[in-house]
Symmetry: C2
Subunit: 124 residues, 2 copies
Amino acid sequence: MDMPASSGVSAQCRKIGKVLAIVGDKWTVMIVRVLVQRPHRFNELKRTIGGISQQMLTRTLKALERDGMVNRTVHPTVPPQVEYALTSLGQSLAVPVHALGVWAGEHLAEIEQNRARYDDDRNV
Amino acid sequence: MDMPASSGVSAQCRKIGKVLAIVGDKWTVMIVRVLVQRPHRFNELKRTIGGISQQMLTRTLKALERDGMVNRTVHPTVPPQVEYALTSLGQSLAVPVHALGVWAGEHLAEIEQNRARYDDDRNV
DNA sequence: CTGAATCCTCGAGGATACTG
DNA sequence: CAGTATCCTCGAGGATTCAG
């Protein structure tokens, strides 16, 4: 918000930057990828993901809800049941994210080889 | 590296996580998107991107070089000229990243509307 | 069970000065 | 011009406790 963004390149980069601000954090993608299969309840989500604190799960879900990516449905039972499901917007995001996942599967090994080689060349 | 990753979901998520660790930082995507057009020199890159410190540019470029995403070519002239160019690996990454950019262009406005509405509903 | 509130750590990212 | 080195800030993320 501080640059003139004179060229179209910058403008497009800002947009990507904003999306990465959503998607680039540690947990958003994992949550989306779990929810894209079927709706989940809070602790179910927590167990499925594994390694996330309830704090961060709450925060990330709230952020996703604010962005209109997930719907939060409270069933007024006892004990309370809260179900999280992807909206159509959230599902549409899952598409390019999945593309990234495919790319990861295809090239991650190569990247790690590159790293190892790079580190070798420097350490010997 | 601490979870059994019993299901394939987790395994795939780890991979995406690693890619996001590369792509998810503040500058990598912008650099890739600039370099995908044509190779750039250091300060040229710095000016084109705008708002990045030389420190972070150096760090990010070095990380990208380590991952085999960019080639660093030193022309032994005076003053020194260093040219950075995407490798084929880097160019292949630009594809899903661009897909994310397209998604951003299509849905960012909607997201920001969702946010505004969400915040309104809470503040009134 | 689903959160909200609090406290703490750690590293990404920035600013600045110096070097070859 | 193209870095390297140093210091600093700030917030993401985790751990724990309390509440409805």
